[in-house]
């Protein structure tokens, strides 16, 4: 029984899950299979999140399925009777902690969701590293390039350059090349592929090593150069193309220019914590990558009663961790709602916790192998745009520093950085690093969490504003 929820008025569920990616799907399936009513809300047109984003329509017909494990999970969720609300934006909460939502394509369709438990599965977004020219058309995130190539069947450009750090760059190179782009090079900031004592730890996850070798083999077959310890220093428009300047780090070699049609940057991922912050959950810093994450217990319950955080929100660790966290939290929620643990398997729980521990250890290993070069932000050229929306350069953010405040909200007020349509999602974490403020989390999220129409708010309150 598949249910596409209708967006209207007030609706009550046992559990509301925000985010239809691996973690959200996993928790929804677990809870719904025990007979509880579940609302699954996602702003995308289809379930799956970023990792399990599915091919549809003629793309599916012509290229075949993408990540069939995700397809299966989505089907399981639908047949478990979960009420799925796609193209639905969660933009706030009210005083009784109900979720305020609206339809992405409607001026008036709005809904208030009340639930006994709220699960925040809002995933992660890509980290950004400003560089002169990163706002130019044709410069894009690695995730965008992957979606274009793998999910839409569109090559990001005739010739492309991929830069940043992380194993994700190899996967993107592979998919982008398959879609028909010529990958001129993968430019890795760190030196992860030079064998070291630390890399021995990878043997704990043979599946990941196999993936890595497959990507490297494919890159070799396609003659895609891989440069380590190298950075893209700037991107400038060159006719209708882009010229990227490359520098080998700590070397006197002259800089090299490469002209391409798209420059793809990937700098790893950061948890999307806006909603869980809005729900009042205490935050802490992830001890492995310094990212701000909600403080959670062993069942992924936050410090706000009835609010859980699963998947990448609870610390970036990849799809297998997200799935396991979803199952573990799902069982905990079932126990909490039932006040009996009769039909929740402890054996499954123990197995998932072992799997999760192993996956999280591997995630830590990866984070250590591909560290984010925070120090680069201190050397950012003065005119480099930090806030893309409001056009705020690095010099303006640094200026605030000399005026004696590193308070993220004060900096936002002073410079407007983070005040534009993306609401600081692309720059707030970077600003914190530029200011060297690691004691407080980035700018406080404000309602609405996404730009919405005033007509939506009006529709939501129409019951209060009856005509006389």
């Amino acid at each position: 029984m598949s249910k596409q929820g209708r967006l209207t008025g007030d609706q009550t569920f046992d559990v509301a899950v925000v985010g239809g990616g691996p973690a959200g799907l996993s928790v929804a399936r677990t809870v719904a299979s025990h007979g509880f009513s579940v609302a699954l809300v996602d702003e995308n047109p289809h379930l799956g999140g970023q990792y399990f984003k599915q091919r549809t329509g003629a793309v599916l017909d012509q290229l075949g399925p993408h990540r069939p494990l995700g397809r299966q999970l989505i089907e399981d969720v639908q047949s478990a009777g979960v009420s799925c609300f796609t193209e639905t934006v969660v933009w706030g909460i009210d005083e009784s902690r109900a979720l305020l939502t609206s339809h992405a394509r409607s001026a008036t369709a709005a809904m208030r969701i009340t639930a006994r438990a709220i699960v925040v599965a809002t995933g992660a977004q890509e980290r950004t590293m400003p560089v002169p020219g990163w706002h130019l058309p044709g410069v894009m995130s690695a995730g965008n390039a992957l979606h274009l190539a793998a999910v839409n069947g569109v090559p990001p450009g005739r010739q492309v350059l991929i830069a940043g750090t992380g194993p994700f760059l190899l996967q993107v190179a592979d998919e982008v090349a398959r879609a028909g782009s010529q990958v001129m090079g993968v430019v890795e900031y760190n030196r992860p592929y030079t064998p070291s004592f630390a890399s021995i730890k990878a043997v704990e996850n043979p599946a990941r090593i196999k993936e890595f070798l497959a990507y490297r083999l494919e890159m070799a077959r396609r003659r895609i150069p891989l440069e380590q310890h190298t950075a893209v220093r700037s991107v400038v428009a060159s006719g209708s193309r882009l010229a990227a300047t490359l520098e080998r780090l700590g070397s006197a070699e002259p800089r090299t220019e490469v002209t391409v049609d798209a420059v793809i940057f990937g700098w790893g991922f950061q948890p999307s914590i806006e909603l869980v912050r809005l729900l009042g959950a205490d935050l802490r810093r992830d001890s492995h990558d310094g990212m701000w994450i909600p403080a959670i217990d062993q069942n992924f319950a936050t410090t706000t009663t009835g609010v859980y955080a699963v998947g990448e929100v609870a610390g970036v660790a990849g799809v297998h961790a997200a799935l396991a966290r979803g199952r573990i939290a799902g069982r905990a929620i079932v126990r909490a709602l039932k006040s009996t643990r009769a039909d929740v398997s402890d054996g499954d729980d123990a197995r998932d916790r072992r799997l999760l521990a192993r996956t999280e250890r591997f995630a830590t290993f990866v984070k250590n192998l591909y560290p984010f070069p925070t120090h680069e932000l201190r050397d950012l050229p003065e005119s480099t745009l930090v806030c893309r929306c409001e056009g705020v350069p690095a010099s303006a953010v640094r200026c605030v520093d000399t005026w004696a405040t590193t308070d993220p909200n004060a900096v936002k007020g002073e410079t407007r950085a983070g005040m534009g349509p993306c609401q600081g999602r692309e720059c707030a974490a970077v600003i914190q690093l530029i200011l060297g403020n690691d004691a407080s989390p980035p700018q406080t999220p404000r309602m609405p969490l996404r730009p919405i129409r005033t007509s939506t708010v009006a529709a939501m309150h129409s019951d209060l504003t009856e005509a006389p």
């Binding site: 047109p45 003629a58 979606h147 209708s240």
Partner: protein, 107 residues
């Protein structure tokens, strides 16, 4: 190892505008982009459909007027805003195309 840095391979065939990359997929529908009828592939987003047409930028930044195109591809950066079926402020990366869809861009 040194191929990319020491021997830049800039010998591009020509600029993509003159010589667009052929679409690897066959179109099965059509959409209207600023009134212009263009082929489209169902299952693609509006952003991907424009990209496949060689359109990489379709709005300008409100502060400095610089041209912008999609950056994040997942609904965060809002650099890909379009008007669809008369509704403005829509994220092109989160909207699927369908036959006859009317897409309006700022620039």
């Amino acid at each position: 190892m040194k191929r990319l840095l020491s021997k830049p391979r800039n010998a591009a065939p020509s600029s993509p505008a003159d010589d667009p990359l052929p679409d690897p997929l066959n179109a099965d529908c059509r959409v209207l982009v600023n009134g212009l009828d263009v082929p489209a592939v169902s299952g693609r987003t509006v952003a991907a459909t424009l990209h496949a047409q060689g359109i990489l930028a379709w709005r300008t930044n409100a502060v400095d007027g610089s041209p912008r195109g999609p950056f994040c591809g997942m609904g965060i950066c809002r650099e890909c805003i379009v008007t669809v079926e008369g509704m403005d402020e829509q994220r092109a990366c989160l909207l699927m195309v369908k036959d006859g869809l009317r897409i309006g861009t700022e620039s």
